[in-house]
Subunit: 322 residues, 2 copies
């Protein structure tokens, strides 16, 4: 028998919209094996048999070898149109709340537990939601105990999240549609027309120029500043190859402007500032933060496996006998 | 002979991206006849023969009857990829500057004059441009002499413009991509998914709620507030039929927030506030302005014909003998 699967105490699944990642983790929280596939929740059309097939494809051999291995998942697999809805838990929430509100779905005779997303609705404001990021936050707390008292955690992406951690709980958060706006504007708007299809390398100067414009003239409005992507190209004041980076800088700059103001309003300016996400994207946010004279204390890659293990460990779901 | 064409002193063309409108105007500035077609500059692919055919289709009979009728056009017909490029005139600019920088193109042996767009580039900021709206501004000045000293003119649309008029000149302006963002988000983003294809009537309460959110929490960022269109739908805190109006309210609210701050920075808060555009859209902006305790002094429909006539009249291009 493969020694990774033999030593595993948990099969952890990070099942987002656009992909699925499976981790074999031992009782001490060490990741022994990782696999990934493109079978994200968005291509499942809410069909249980599609989820079952994707699970079988990514981990069928592991489950055959270790039928008792507990299964724990986070992400869009638990959305309303996912495999089984895991209703949002309310903020503030910590690991015990998340574990208590996990739902189970039958996976060919095995039970798959799904971690709920989080809902945050401050008085008088619209609701905000996350699904998957709550597990990354638990993972960051597990890996870095210095975040327990207080931290501001930024998770860049399609729908970036800025979260407030207090006493090992997620007290609140805000979403920013930065990544989705970038893709939309690049692909479907008038701004994309002057951009070349392929660019040799990213233009850091153009990116920083966009961030600076957001910092210095953001009060003119994002919808105004975006138009400059077109006019700077039209007037040849920026090379066509740099327009996409300028657009990215404007959008990330507006996120940072609003996010840093939110951080200050939560009283988190002195607390650790953490970036979690894909390393290239985190590096870009780090560059953007430098324009605001701000430096993240930690840059972390996906902390979902650590969060899944932590939740399983604290709820005593790990397989203790091999 | 048709009496309208017999009495005309000018054939004026408002030739934008998405449509073409032709006006027969007499020596006193009275519009005698109007025609419109969908042959906008965006479907011409920059081909002179396509422009010629569209002109012939909309006004061939008029031109046959009155071969000497002067032709004057504004709009995207003069863009870089239009029929003939009319390079941007610099702000500040008045009617004499626009008339002096008109370019001519041959239209089957006749000369068609094209009015330039305007370029505004304040020190240290990216350039901003308009094409077509400069003629609407001249038209508003022609029709309402009380705007001569100073005015703030808002032209809502795909790329809304906020212009500063001083001493009958366009001193500067800012664009806001409000209409384009609405269309993009509605058609291509995650926000459109919960919206029904067809809605019976517009939901004014949802629209005003969006404007209020922009006014009161705009500092959280447009990219954050947009996400509420999804969460309010998901949590059933707004009916699905109102989500598009809420989105429209957020976008228009952010435009008004930024635009009114810009108006104040230009020292225009006491000057007349004018809306020019499609009446339904102007009514929506008027509703939005009420949330900011602000009331427009004038609501005007397309003033391009008045502007075209005014430019032709002041440059002595009108046909004086019939």
């Amino acid at each position: 028998m493969n020694s990774a699967v033999e030593q595993a105490a948990l099969l952890a699944l990070d099942w987002g919209s656009s992909g699925l990642r499976a981790f074999l983790i031992n009782a001490q929280g060490l990741t022994l094996a990782t696999r990934s596939s493109a079978q994200g929740a968005s291509v499942m059309n809410g069909k249980p048999e599609a989820y079952l097939a994707a699970l079988d494809q990514i981990a069928g051999d592991w489950l055959l070898a270790r039928p008792q291995l507990p299964l724990l998942a986070c992400g869009m697999v638990g959305a309303k149109h996912g495999w089984r809805e895991a209703p949002y838990a309310d903020c503030p929430a910590g690991e015990a709340d998340l574990a208590a509100q996990t739902v189970s779905v039958d996976a060919n005779g095995r039970s798959l537990r799904i971690i709920p997303g989080l809902l945050h609705q401050p008085a008088g404001l619209p609701p905000d939601v996350m699904r998957g990021e709550e597990t990354q936050l638990i993972g960051a707390l597990q890996l870095y105990p210095q975040l327990t008292e207080a931290a501001c955690v930024v998770m860049p992406g399609t729908h970036s999240k800025w979260a407030e951690l207090r006493e090992a709980n997620v007290r609140g958060f805000v979403s920013q549609m930065t990544g989705e706006l970038y893709a939309l504007l690049r692909q479907h708007s008038v701004l994309g027309r002057l951009m070349p299809e392929q660019v040799e390398a990213s233009d850091t100067a153009a990116f920083l120029k966009g961030v600076q414009a957001a910092r210095d003239q953001g009060e003119l409005g994002l919808a105004h500043q975006l138009f400059a992507v077109r006019t700077l190209g039209l007037m040849e004041q920026l090379p066509a190859a740099g327009l996409a980076d300028y657009l990215s800088g404007l959008l990330i700059g507006h996120e940072l402007r609003a996010g840093l103001a939110w951080r200050a309003a939560q009283g988190l300016s002195q607390a650790p500032l953490v970036l979690i996400g894909e390393p290239t994207l985190c590096a870009r946010y780090e560059q953007g933060l430098s324009v605001f004279a701000c430096k993240p204390d930690l840059l972390l890659d996906n902390t979902a496996p650590a969060g899944l293990w932590r939740l399983a460990q604290s709820a005593a779901w790990l397989l203790t006998t091999n």
